[in-house]
């Protein structure tokens, strides 16, 4: 994973190696939710090469920082989904065993 950036810190293109739509699309979506971002998009230069270019342009903050924050935000979303899913599974298993017990006692 490498960076290609230039003189103006608020606009740069990041070239990630060994990544594809799986990673780039959610990051793009999360960055677009960030109010500091004026432009965010990604492209895959060639499908045979395992590379993806993410372009970030901000309102002044360095693009690298904004990208990092975007990843952080997405991590929080993932944590939350994980916690919610775990809780859901436990709730589901609990209600299932409850109904089974009720059926047994009836």
């Amino acid at each position: 994973m490498e960076i290609g950036s230039h003189s103006d810190q608020s606009k740069s293109t990041f070239c990630l190696v060994d990544e594809d739509h799986t990673f780039a699309n959610p990051v793009r979506f999360t960055l677009n939710q960030d109010p500091r971002v004026t432009f965010c998009g990604y492209s895959i230069p060639h499908p045979s090469d395992n590379r993806v270019n993410i372009r970030v342009q901000t309102t002044g903050d360095p693009a690298k920082e904004v990208l990092k924050d975007g990843c952080q935000e997405l991590m929080h979303v993932c944590q939350h989904v994980r916690g919610t899913f775990d809780k859901s599974v436990n709730d589901f298993k609990r209600t299932k065993t409850n109904t089974e017990q009720n059926m047994d006692t009836k």
Partner: protein, 370 residues
């Protein structure tokens, strides 16, 4: 640094959960995140599968590489996979990628001695680690016949023998489909169906039934809603009413003295009691809708284009996860989230060095307008 989270936090609700099948709802999130989850589940959750086969004796009808290919595709219980190392990253073994930390050894020794054809199945594979074994597909209930267990690898005739040693390693679906733990992962947008009641009133019962039947899956159903109904059991009237289910309605009504049959209401009178039925079309299973537009086309063909409005909610998804048995379905989702987090971590942490290298000379040159 953003202190306040500006992203919406998704909600999850489980509909069904079995060992190898999970159906759950994911709400308040975007399609890109749902898709990322799906892609990771299929291609990037690690499992263990046979990767190297050393054949000592093979006198069966299938050739060596054929059998090796089949062995690779056998799903192995992979709870250990997340904590194992990839063989290429393992520093404990002496270079051949076969140490106990990064691999599991299997062996298979079968010889057919009888005249009956011997089925060599995945049950005959013996593992060096009892937590990594070929998945058992038998039904937990006892009355399942014990013959149909295990995936058949090859069939042997009298005198044919198969002896081999196999090494199973950790891998991901991206490298080879044998390492994919998901049989199928799908998600659909949750449909929101609004029926235009006023327009629906103008249809006759026959037209309603035709329209409901035009949907390939059972999304809508006609329900007789009784108004001023008193379900009393006096002879003929009761028998008539209890037959008012489904299509029998129209036929049985003819038995009584029909006062009027208007577009959607049947008023019948028997034994000096009146009751009036209104047939309403209701949504019986919104999620059975497969986004084929058959009902919309039918409504247009009948001359009632605004009859129903179906919207796909862009932030609500219904996931269906089926696992091969290598990992439990719920564990598969959790592992997928874990892998997604690892990817994000990797990118975040590698940002510390800025390299405008020669490799990016092209990109740099292009950006500078060269």
């Amino acid at each position: 640094m953003e202190g306040v989270s500006y992203a919406r936090m998704p909600r999850v609700k489980i509909r069904e959960l079995k060992d190898d099948y999970a159906k759950f709802e994911l709400r308040d999130t975007d399609a890109s995140i749902a898709n990322a989850l799906r892609r990771v589940m299929i291609a990037e959750v690690p499992t263990i599968a046979i990767d190297l086969v050393e054949i000592e004796v093979n006198s069966s009808v299938l050739n060596d590489e054929f059998i090796a290919h089949r062995l690779g595709l056998i799903p192995l219980t992979s709870e250990r996979a997340m904590s194992m190392r990839f063989s290429r990253d393992c520093d404990a073994c002496d270079g051949d990628g076969q140490c106990e930390f990064c691999s599991v050894e299997f062996h298979l020794r079968v010889k057919c001695m009888t005249d009956q054809t011997l089925d060599v199945s995945s049950k005959d594979l013996y593992s060096s680690d009892h937590s990594v074994v070929p998945v058992d597909f038998s039904d937990p209930s006892n009355h399942e016949s014990s013959d149909n267990r295990g995936i058949i690898i090859v069939k042997l005739r009298r005198g044919q023998e198969l002896r081999l040693r196999a090494i199973a390693r950790k891998g991901i679906g991206k490298d080879h489909a044998k390492w994919s733990p998901a049989a199928t992962v799908t998600f659909m947008y949750e449909p929101e169906i609004h029926i235009n009641e006023d327009l629906m009133e103008t249809l006759t019962l026959e037209e309603k039934r035709e329209w409901v039947d035009s949907s390939p899956t059972r999304v809508f159903e006609i329900d007789p809603v009784t108004q001023q109904c008193s379900l009393l059991n006096y002879g003929f009237g009761y028998a008539l009413f209890s037959a008012f289910i489904g299509n029998a309605i129209v036929n049985s009504v003819h038995n009584s003295k029909l006062l009027s049959l208007s577009s959607s209401r049947i008023i019948s009178r028997t034994n000096s009691k009146e009751w009036c039925l209104t047939f309403i079309v209701m949504v019986v299973d919104a999620e059975a809708y497969t986004y084929d537009d058959e009902v919309l086309k039918k409504a247009e063909a009948m001359g009632k284009p605004g009859l129903v409005e179906i919207i796909a909610r862009q932030d609500s998804f219904i996931f269906t996860v089926e696992s091969t048995g290598a990992i439990k379905a719920s564990q598969l989702v959790l592992n997928a989230i874990e892998i997604l987090k690892q990817k994000l971590d990797a990118v975040r942490l590698s940002e510390d060095t800025v390299e405008a290298d020669d490799q990016f000379g092209e990109l740099g040159a292009h950006m500078r307008g060269g």
